[in-house]
């Protein structure tokens, strides 16, 4: 099989022949957010076909997990969605806990939710910054988003000891308790985050060209989105309030009040705006957690030294930053899972790429890809 799509020749009425041109975008291209590759077939500036290729960042994460014991494998999971490592750790821990029947102390649940929501904010900041750069602003949105991301990472470092890949969660809780100044620190951070969101909102949404580029572009109907398996902000932008934190509440989310922002017609602008609104909701969740959290244990003391799970099978899904982040685990004794499977939202959202891109300009193909907010660590696993 050739790696290039077949060239198609068109014969026009006057005998003139044209050949569609193929353009390779990626794996090294500033707009592909990593090592994604797509081959666009273009007719002038219009995209007539799009063929995505993935696998450049494949690390065999699921297989690695099967060959390491339950606690060692944690480090691989925050490297899936590396922009929001905590959310992935949370999903993995929930799967292992469900499999082994481990209870998590309440304080640990609150800590987890706070860090997961901060991760979500972090990831969405990355989206806003990179999306602004995709649309063409000269890195300004990127730098503004990075300012807040740095502050969030600084907090992560204070709490967990690491910035990007903390490996802080454990089956049965979290590794250590919060530092003493955590609450004032987070309250300050939330103020800074709100300021940062507002700055980006004014920089991007307040810009005529940005709105003109995004509005009405590549609208996605709800039924099409569901059929293609699209989840997360892209699905919510079509108007369906499908958020696993509400639809299938897990952890302590039932005790917390928050809204699910939805769009109207699923175009690029709605996807952007849903994420923007979601960041405010995440900040709200963190604030409520700060009020509700009480002192206590952070790790289940009855955990065995060596975690062995006899028999079991489970599929746990949580609302990752990109959509439904599902972990399937199958245990058949021993201290390693027999089979792990990740249902990664970025990968499933990419299923819709071809349909969204075809019929638009090359410049729009770039921002449509940007609006899906893929993370290649998650796509290629």
């Amino acid at each position: 099989m050739s790696i290039w799509p077949e060239e198609r020749t068109y014969t026009h009425a006057d005998g003139f022949e044209t050949v569609d041109m193929t353009i390779n975008i990626g794996p090294q291209h500033p707009a592909t957010h990593g090592v994604f590759r797509m081959v666009l077939t273009v007719d002038g500036e219009m995209v007539v076909d799009c063929e995505p290729y993935i696998g450049y960042l494949h690390r065999g994460l699921e297989k690695l997990t099967e060959n390491n014991d339950y606690r060692q494998a944690m480090g691989f999971w925050d490297r899936t969605d590396y922009l929001a490592g905590m959310a992935c750790e949370g999903a993995y821990c929930m799967a292992v806990e469900k499999l082994a029947g481990i209870e998590v102390p309440e304080r640990a649940e609150y800590i987890r939710v706070m860090l997961m929501e901060l991760s979500r904010i972090n990831s969405h900041f990355m989206f806003l910054g990179a999306f602004g750069a995709d649309v063409g602003s000269f890195g300004t949105s990127f730098v503004y988003a990075w300012r807040e991301r740095e502050r969030i990472y600084d907090l992560f470092e204070e709490v967990t000891g690491d910035r990007m890949f903390p490996t802080y969660f454990r089956p049965g809780g979290v590794a250590m308790d919060l530092p003493e100044n955590f609450e004032p620190r987070v309250r300050w951070l939330l103020g800074s985050i709100r300021q940062g969101i507002e700055d980006l909102d004014r920089l991007l949404t307040g810009n005529e060209i940005f709105v003109e580029r995004c509005t009405g572009l590549s609208p996605l109907a709800t039924d099409r989105a569901i059929n293609m398996g699209v989840t997360g902000p892209v699905l919510r932008a079509t108007g369906l309030p499908w958020d696993l934190r509400k639809a299938e509440p897990y952890s302590i989310y039932p005790r917390i009040a928050f809204d699910i922002p939805t769009g109207r017609q699923g175009d690029i602008f709605d996807r952007y705006f849903v994420r923007l609104a979601e960041m405010y909701q995440s900040a709200r969740i963190v604030e409520q957690c700060l009020e509700q959290i009480e002192p206590g244990l952070v790790l289940n003391p009855k955990l065995p030294k060596n975690l062995r799970i006899d028999n079991g099978e489970c599929y746990v899904r949580n609302e990752g930053t990109k959509g439904e982040y599902g972990v399937y685990a199958l245990a058949r004794g021993g201290n390693k899972p027999y089979r792990m499977k990740l249902r990664s939202p970025s990968f499933c959202n990419l299923a819709g790429l071809r349909e969204m891109v075809v019929g638009n300009y090359v410049a729009d193909a770039i921002i449509i890809l940007g609006s899906l907010d893929i993370v290649l660590g998650e796509v290629d696993k």
């Binding site: 041109m21 193929t22 353009i23 390779n24 291209h29 500033p30 707009a31 007719d43 500036e45 219009m46 995209v47 007539v48 076909d49 602004g132 750069a133 995709d134 649309v135 063409g136 602003s137 000269f138 890195g139 300004t140 730098v143 503004y144 300012r147 920089l203 991007l204 949404t205 307040g206 810009n207 005529e208 060209i209 940005f210 709105v211 003109e212 580029r213 995004c214 509005t215 009405g216 572009l217 590549s218 609208p219 109207r264 017609q265 602008f269 071809r354 349909e355 075809v358 019929g359 638009n360 300009y361 090359v362 410049a363 729009d364 770039i366």
Partner: protein
């Protein structure tokens, strides 16, 4: 009418032809240094607007950064892709640079102070600037790269569209200048600047200035019209395959063109070396004033670049053909009536000012409106092929 009006005697009393060579070499030397500091300045200005520091390491406040970059670029290997058309590929950087140099040769930097003072200076600038596209198309076609091809073709399409409002806006100014000039030398840049000793032409023709500035951004491929060089789409466009010295020729061309354009704009619209009061201040201050005005325009270009995203190619064409072109034509018609019937000069300011307010109001109201839903149908022309 002689082909050019000499700027006084040849310097050092040498032959006339040698005088041209000496002045051109001086100009190119100065231009190179100016371009280096424009690049440095852009990095600093953009960094300031993005809460960064910019270059800080090479020399005090990174002042030698551009020199270091230039040395590095000269030392790099000059790579030619195998698929490239050798001579077209290798001569393209020079073909883009020469028109810009020819523009610079025409410009007076202070009163009677430049390389050559052409009687039809403004006309010459129009004529030569259009040649720039030849080099860009050569680079686009000769590179044997699809990104470069797209970039070159985009640049050509953009150039063809934006040349028209650019020339029409300058035509409006030329009409005003022609009404004031004694004799038939209203297209001489030196004369145009001298005519503005009471008030710069931007006061009389604000709409023309806005159109000129917009079209200038487009001609220079600066944001929001940087479609031919879009970094996030076609990764640099027509110069994507170049490296080393040839790449730096493109960079030099880009910034030299920016400098030339802003000096041209400051002479035609902002009064060049004339204070609004119109005193004779000596050539040193005149030079400083011209350069100061041009650097102000360049600062605005940097500022715009930092804040706005990029237009799509069809939106770019819409803006040109549906907004800028009609407005510049209306401007010319209004000027024609006012100048032919010798109505008071203030009417020029009023009509053009109303036009400028309308243009700005169009942009601001569109920016302020709630995002409108449903442009569906304008896109979706191609069916998704079935596999």
């Amino acid at each position: 009418m002689s082909p050019y009006v000499a700027f006084g005697d040849p310097i050092f009393g040498i032959w006339n032809w040698l005088d041209v060579v000496v002045r051109t070499v001086l100009l190119v030397t100065v231009m190179t240094v100016v371009v280096m500091y424009l690049i440095y300045g852009e990095r600093k200005v953009v960094a300031r607007m993005q809460q960064r520091l910019g270059p800080m390491r090479t020399g005090p406040y990174g002042l030698w950064q551009s020199f270091a970059d230039a040395i590095k670029l000269v030392g790099k290997e000059d790579i030619r892709p195998t698929g490239a058309d050798r001579w077209v590929f290798e001569s393209a950087p020079f073909a883009t640079f020469i028109p810009v140099l020819m523009v610079l040769v025409t410009l007076p930097f202070a009163e009677n102070w430049g390389v050559r003072n052409l009687a039809l200076g403004m006309f010459f600038v129009f004529a030569v600037l259009g040649l720039n596209i030849v080099g860009i198309m050569m680079a686009g076609l000769g590179s044997g790269n699809k990104y470069a091809l797209l970039g070159g073709v985009r640049a050509a399409a953009q150039m063809i569209s934006y040349e028209i409002p650019l020339v029409l806006s300058l035509l409006a100014v030329a009409m005003v200048a022609g009404a004031h000039a004694t004799g038939d030398n209203a297209l001489n840049l030196n004369v145009i600047s001298t005519l503005q000793e009471d008030r710069p032409f931007i006061v009389l023709q604000p709409l023309a200035f806005l159109i000129f500035f917009t079209a200038m951004l487009s001609e220079l491929h600066r944001a929001p019209f940087d479609i031919p060089v879009a970094e996030s789409e076609i990764v640099g466009g027509y110069f994507v395959e170049y490296s080393g010295i040839r790449w730096s020729m493109f960079q030099l061309t880009e910034y030299a063109a920016m400098w030339a354009f802003s000096i041209f704009g400051s002479i035609v619209f902002l009064g060049g070396w004339e204070w609004p009061g119109g005193q004779d201040i000596g050539w040193g201050w005149q030079l400083a004033l011209t350069l100061g005005k041009s650097f102000f325009l360049i600062l605005v270009i940097f500022w715009v670049r930092t804040t706005v995203p990029r237009l799509r190619i069809d939106q770019l064409m819409n803006f040109c053909w549906k907004v800028l072109l009609p407005m510049s034509i209306v401007q010319i018609i209004a000027n024609g009536f006012i100048l032919v019937y010798e109505w008071p000069e203030e009417l020029l300011t009023v009509t053009s000012g109303i036009g400028a307010v309308v243009l700005i109001a169009i942009i601001i109201t569109r920016a302020l409106r709630r995002p409108k839903q449903s442009l569906v149908g304008a896109y979706r022309q191609v069916q998704v092929p079935v596999r």
